[in-house]
Amino acid sequence: MKKHMLKVSRVTKRFGGLTALENVSFRVAENELLGVIGPNGSGKTTLINLINGIHKPDNGDIIFRDMPIHRLSSYKIAQKGIGRTFQVTRVFRRMSVMENMMVPALSISKSGTQEALLPKALEILALLKIVHLKDEYGRSLSGGQHKLLELGRVLMLDPDLILLDEPFAGVHPELKADLHDHIRKLHDRGKTFILISHDMHSIFSLSQRLMVLSSGEKIAHGTPEEIRKNEEVIEAYLGN
């Protein structure tokens, strides 16, 4: 049995009077690809924000590799090996693609020189098929290219756990197929993923296991086949 990399226990998050997440618990094993689905406002992005430290939970624990991380700052969590992308991409628009890739280098460079990390950045850009854009400014890229650059920036940190928030939203079908391919390849190389998506075809085909949130509560979890047949899930999406 694989060891659990991430343990989320009874996590609750409130924003004023609104409960975004209520008592949510789950575990992610090493090299697992966990999909998280749920209707809009179900708390999926809040969950990712809690794992990577943008928000702090009101209750509950988040343990990554046997270490509590729920009180740590985002940058410390990133340095411990959790990377993420955003639903609305957040590349550094006034920096070139290569400069975007080198930003995480400040926290990972052992030698203190940028030259040592250039080959790694070029390799990742080549893997993502955007190496030809290395000198372009972030602001001049398309939405899909922003998604790839953001993924590339995450990979520079070489994280063990990657959180992807709606990676396929607003992406050209051709680019979407590329993204599928990249996620699969990275997963095959040993990376662990938590994937949020409204793209049912993508998330059902990529995920080994799915967790379903509705109104801030976990209503189901299981294999894609089990989730597809779960009546509570069907009701949450389609109503009565």
């Binding site: 430290g53 993420r84 957040r90 628009r93 080198m102 280098a105 460079s109």
Partner: protein, 300 residues
Amino acid sequence: MTEYLILQALNGLIIGLIYALMALGLTLIFSVLKIVNFAHGELYMLGAYFSYYLAKMFGFPPVLAVLSSIIIVFFLGVVIEVLFLRPVYTGAVERKDEYAILITFGLSIFLQNLALFVFGPWTRRSPSFVSGTTSFCSLSISNDRLVVSALAIVFMVATLIIIGRTFIGKGLRAVSQDREAAAIAGINPFKMNLLAFGAGSALAAAGGALIGPIFLIFPTMGAMPVIKSFVIIVLGGMGSIKGCIIASLILGEAESLGSVLFPDLTRGLAYKNAIGLLFLVVVLLLKPTGLFGEKHVRMK
């Protein structure tokens, strides 16, 4: 008349370079910490005093006194950031913008009065870098002004290289563009705040220390330059380093040439400060984001 105008243009360039140093510091602080540092003029004043005393009392060579003063004020900036500005980013204060305005404004008044108490109200002048004048054709310019220009350019280029080429510069730029995304990329935003405030303070001190041998040093000497720095960063486009440098040079020239080209020469100098502000009004009417400012895009 032509020679006089050329001389004034040179003076404008030198003043512009000093403005650029100060405004660059203010821009760095504003870009990274997202606060307007009202105490920036007092850091400029302290830079001038530290340089003066290091040269006069401890016998430091003038250039070494300037460099030492810059280093002292860098660390002073670091202490100010940790003691007074850190609460803005740790969630310890609720109304962050108001807190930052009040704390830096209060610090400005405190430092001015502390300088008055410690250094006295008398004006002082730092020792010359190189005494005498240098002549080009029929123009004559003081060696101090030439040294000040050269050092100002060196400090500015060094700052631009650090910001543009180094890891730390990339970290500062990343935090200035998107603090949260930079943190997700593993950058410690608190460390960047510290560096930005320290470096911004050091740049203000560089301006003050360099101006010491040319103009007078007194406790309220930073009041007017800080207002001009605000004008410059708005004129150049909030947060734009290129805009800040170009706007500084434009303002220096506009003030210098404007005062001698003013129809009534006896009043020209009195309108010097108004010329820069008038220029700002015209630019903002035509381009509200400033010369090189971008429409702010929030990606949240």
